[in-house]
């Protein structure tokens, strides 16, 4: 085999006492796509940043050699090495909003790289910026050049990031979770673009991702990283056919699969929640006296019904109004119009106090398990809070018993009760949140992206727990998510939301296998599927 473009030998990175990358070796060859895969905290991003020396000062980097085309980068002083960054190795980050300078125009940010690495006349630089914007397929590049990052959508911003990375004509492009912050349809477009550009320029692509399905569509070779160690490196085809390391196998097995919806059978049941023409509008004020001139229609006339013991998935991309809908059902956001029947009662007819009690039968599990618990409270107090508020007659001892019982239900040790939230991992916290919701014996739980902040293997466990609880207690779930694969795992019925309206609704199996609406079709097409060839 030819000489590797990038050769990393025995690289270790540590912060104070914690070793986050532990003696790893890997090579990247010219023109190939190499993927470094791992769950959060595995050290994959740190590896990339340490190669480019972009880690903060307190990081301790040690390696036998990090060589680009045989030239050891470790021996190059910083003053020369900073010219390599951007010129020989380009870098794309996860969050395109925060990664662009908010007060510089797009054009200026791209031109800066060109001016830094090439000596060109101003007119030529502008020409090159235009070229780059065209290359990353940004429409109306002349106008966009003059705009600031906040005026662009997420997908366009990531394209600008790619243009910045390409501006130095690098031999290696590092893409650190380039599409994680993007919607699934945009993700597909950006990935296609990356592939196309790689073919055009022949540069090597080093993809860093947590998403095996995505990687299977992009990479020629794959390295799996676990807790700072590369456990397996293999060509893509071989890897997905037969992963060798148990960790790789575990990761693959945990992947949610959209096709699991095929196993679902419909059983009839009584409706628990019926929503009719539900609206949440936000007024837009304008003019001297702040008159309401129009409304942002976050949720615009949504009707659906959810049956007892069933799961209805609300699917949509960011900004479609699905989270607002969930919060409005809980009265966390005021609704503008529509009627809601819950358990046979019209919620609009209830008095405030009765409504407060009735709402307790609807609970919510939030996306971010780190923000969902008061860091200043004990787990026992967090779980018992609802009981205390709604049923003050229960004695302290009974409450304690109930808390212990709930902890057992969500498979956490009883000792968790007297600990604080920060002592738990993301998955454990999500379990505590589930226990807190269960404490007031709800009939319906609104799950707002409960697994999207979690790693795949943890996600699988939480989904299984939710399903078990559903069977035991005949709970109904309103499952809000953007992830169609998760929908396939858990949903009985699916409603697809687009711009505040439900565009398609039906049994999961029907919607996911034979979508009728063009938007649903685009969504499904964009989902990266595990490619095993």
């Amino acid at each position: 085999m030819a000489e590797p473009l990038l050769q990393v030998k025995n690289l270790s990175v540590s912060f104070q006492q914690d070793t986050v990358v532990d003696a790893i070796d890997f090579d990247i060859y010219g023109g190939e796509s190499f993927a470094l895969v791992g769950e959060s905290g595995s050290g994959k991003s740190i590896t990339a940043l340490s190669v480019l020396r972009l880690l903060p000062n307190n990081a301790n980097i040690q390696a036998d050699s990090i060589a680009l085309k045989g030239q050891n980068m470790l021996t190059i002083p910083e003053i020369d090495f900073c010219r390599w960054r951007g010129r020989r190795i380009g870098l794309i980050f996860q969050d395109p909003m925060s990664s662009l300078n908010p007060v510089m125009t797009i054009g200026a940010q791209i031109a800066e790289v060109i001016r830094l690495h090439f000596t060109l006349k101003p007119a030529d630089i502008e020409q090159r910026v235009l070229e780059l914007l065209q290359q990353v397929e940004i429409p109306a590049p002349e106008r966009r050049m003059q705009e600031y990052p906040h005026q662009l959508s997420g997908g366009l911003r990531q394209r600008v990031m790619i243009a910045i990375a390409l501006a130095g004509r690098p031999e290696l492009l590092i893409a650190d979770e380039p599409t994680t912050a993007l919607d699934v349809t945009i993700q597909a477009q950006v990935l296609a673009l990356l592939k196309k550009i790689q073919q055009q320029t022949g540069m090597a692509l080093w993809l860093i991702s947590h998403d095996l399905a995505l990687v299977s569509n992009m990479a020629d070779r794959i390295a799996v990283m676990e807790k700072g160690v590369i456990v397996e490196t293999a060509p893509s085809t071989a890897f997905f056919k037969q992963p060798k390391h148990p960790y790789s196998r575990k990761l693959l097995a945990a992947l949610p699969d959209i096709r699991h919806c095929l196993g679902k059978t419909a059983t009839p049941s009584t409706p628990l929640l019926q929503v009719n023409d539900f609206k949440v509008w936000y007024p837009i004020h304008k003019g001297l006296f702040k008159r309401v001139v129009d409304h942002v229609r976050a949720v615009d006339g949504v009707s659906f019904s959810l049956h007892q013991g069933k799961t209805l998935a609300l699917v949509g991309e960011s900004g479609c109004g699905k989270t607002t809908l969930g919060k409005a059902l809980l009265n966390l956001v005021p609704a503008t119009g529509g009627r809601v029947w819950f358990d046979g009662v019209d919620l609009g007819q209830l008095s405030d106090e009765a409504l407060r009690r009735k709402r307790a039968e609807i609970q919510m599990i939030f996306q971010d398990p780190f923000a969902a618990m008061n860091p200043r409270m004990l787990i026992a107090d967090i779980i018992a809070e609802g009981l205390q508020a709604l049923r003050p007659e229960i004695s302290a001892e009974q409450r304690r018993q109930k808390v212990l019982h709930l902890l057992e239900q969500v498979e956490l040790p009883a000792s968790s009760a007297i600990r604080y939230p920060h002592e738990f991992s993301g998955g454990q916290r999500q379990r505590i949140c589930i226990a807190r919701a269960l404490a007031v014996s709800p009939k319906l739980i609104i799950c707002d992206e409960p697994t999207s902040a979690l790693d795949v293997s943890v996600q699988a466990q939480i989904l299984r727990l939710l399903q078990d609880l559903q069977q035991q207690q005949r709970l109904s779930y309103l499952f809000i998510t953007h992830d169609l694969a998760v929908v396939g795992e858990i949903a009985d019925e699916v409603a697809v939301i687009y711009q505040g309206k439900i565009v398609e609704m039906g049994a999961a199996r029907q919607v996911l296998t034979a979508p009728q609406h063009p938007y649903t079709q685009t969504l499904l097409k964009a989902v990266p599927e595990l490619k095993v060839t």
Binding site: Q16, K327, A360, M364, Q367, N374, A389, L390
Partner: protein, 444 residues
């Protein structure tokens, strides 16, 4: 026993601090930042210095009626009785045996001479100051220092015996530094006190009063301003800030209007106007203020109140912003969907999660308030002219610096004490902020 208004408030404050520190020690999420503070050498050393200042201030806050003269005096006055009684006629330099200005001296034999007279108390035990003074000072200083060291050792021994030998936990460098500081302060302070029996260690002022005594008395004024002001403004700032952030809507509008109004009046002018009004009131109602001390105390308290009114807006704004952030956190929404009532959410969820901001701003404000007192007293809108304060000392120094030869000691004494206090407070505040600010905490 006479309890002045500020005395009562100070002891309430000390009690409140003791209780809240005790509560913080039991809460695990406070343990980490507290541990950070106790592990830092600078913070422990400055804490010891602050506590020493606080000790003097507290001594000076226990007032009672002297049985002999009928005046209200404090414990500190009692301890420093020699200093209060050994007054000269006018200025004299530190450790000097002679007065600052020449006078007509009538000798025993009736001869008259225009010369610097000997002091009544300073170095009065010496026959020939020109030769004897410095050896005497040195030997007395050595004796004083020796006694001071012995006293410090004794205290240390007592402490060690109470603590017991069981906790044989090795001393960390921070506690070692703190103990050393305490040791040095006790020894030096004792030495100064010992020397003050024979000399005016920091000289005397225009009316011949001992400057060392004045600076010691000024400590209380500085501390009162630095702490009671905060006590006055906290209820306003916390109450309004959290309510504005939590309820939003018209509550927020009203509160914002109030603090923009207050903010728009230049602080110094508001203070000046209020103090002027108090002066007019006091001048016209002399019957309500039985003695000079009570009158000065009321003015001090009122100054704290005014400073509190002008300074709560800053903290209020910060708390409002933070509350706006916290109320959008998912745990608040979770509590709402669990049916928890709003007052409970405010107290249980919002308040504990903004408390670190209150703590940080209280310690940060302390030093700026001490500095503000000096400036305000300088422009005559601070404490009462009869109150001992560094501001009043500096105010007097303006003319003293223009004299020839320069009267430098009152200014230097005020500078030395004030600088030590403010520096210690600043350093301590820095570590508190680093320990409690979540954004800084990550960076170690």
């Amino acid at each position: 026993m006479v309890i002045l208004w500020t005395d009562g408030l100070i002891f309430t404050l000390v009690l409140a601090i003791a209780i809240s520190v005790g509560m913080m020690l039991r809460k695990p999420h406070f343990k980490r930042p507290l541990a950070k503070i106790t592990q830092s050498k600078t913070s422990m050393v400055s804490l010891v210095i602050l506590l020493c200042f606080a000790g003097v201030g507290l001594l000076d806050s226990v007032h009672y009626k002297d049985s002999r003269t009928g005046e209200i005096i404090s414990l500190l006055d009692h301890v420093a009785k020699p200093l209060t009684e050994q007054t000269e006629r006018t200025y004299s330099a530190p450790f000097s045996a002679y007065l600052y200005s020449k006078e007509m001296i009538i000798h025993d034999d009736g001869r008259e001479k225009w010369d610097y007279p000997r002091l009544k108390y300073g170095a009065a035990h010496l026959d020939n100051p020109a030769q004897q003074k410095w050896p005497d000072i040195l030997s007395k200083a050595a004796i004083g220092l020796g006694k001071g060291v012995l006293l410090a050792l004794l205290l240390y021994l007592v402490f060690w015996m109470i603590r017991g030998r069981k906790s044989a936990e090795p001393y960390r460098p921070a506690s070692k530094a703190a103990l050393l500081t305490l040791f040095a302060i006790i020894s030096l302070f004792y030495m100064l006190a010992y020397l003050s029996h024979w000399y005016h260690v920091l000289g005397t002022d225009k009316v011949g009063e001992d400057v060392f005594y004045q600076t010691l008395k000024s400590i209380r004024t500085g501390l009162v301003i630095g702490t009671l002001t905060t006590l006055m403004m906290l209820p306003l700032a916390i109450g309004f800030g959290i309510m504005a952030g939590f309820f939003r809507g018209w509550v927020d509008d009203v509160i914002q209007f109030i603090y923009t109004t207050l903010n728009s009046i230049p602080g110094v002018l508001l203070i000046a106007a209020s103090i002027l009004m108090v002066q007019v009131y006091m001048a016209n109602h002399p019957e309500q203020f039985a003695s000079v001390l009570i009158r000065a105390d009321m003015r001090l308290l009122f100054l704290c109140l005014i400073l509190g009114v002008t300074s709560w807006t800053g903290l209020c704004r910060m708390l409002r912003a933070e509350t706006l952030k916290v109320r959008e956190m998912e745990f608040v929404q979770a509590a709402e969907s669990l049916g928890v009532t709003r007052p409970t959410i405010l107290i249980r969820h919002i308040l504990p999660n903004v408390m670190h901001i209150v703590l940080i701003s209280v310690v940060l404000d302390f030093s700026s308030l001490v500095l503000a007192e000096a400036v305000l007293s300088y422009i005559n809108i601070g404490v009462d002219p009869t109150t001992y304060s560094w501001g009043n000392m500096i105010n007097g120094a303006r003319l003293e610096m223009a004299r020839d030869p320069v009267v430098w000691w009152p200014l230097s004494a005020a500078f030395l004490f004030m600088f030590t206090l403010v520096l210690a407070a600043n350093l301590f505040a820095d570590t508190v902020r680093n320990a409690f600010d979540p954004r800084r905490a990550e960076h170690g």
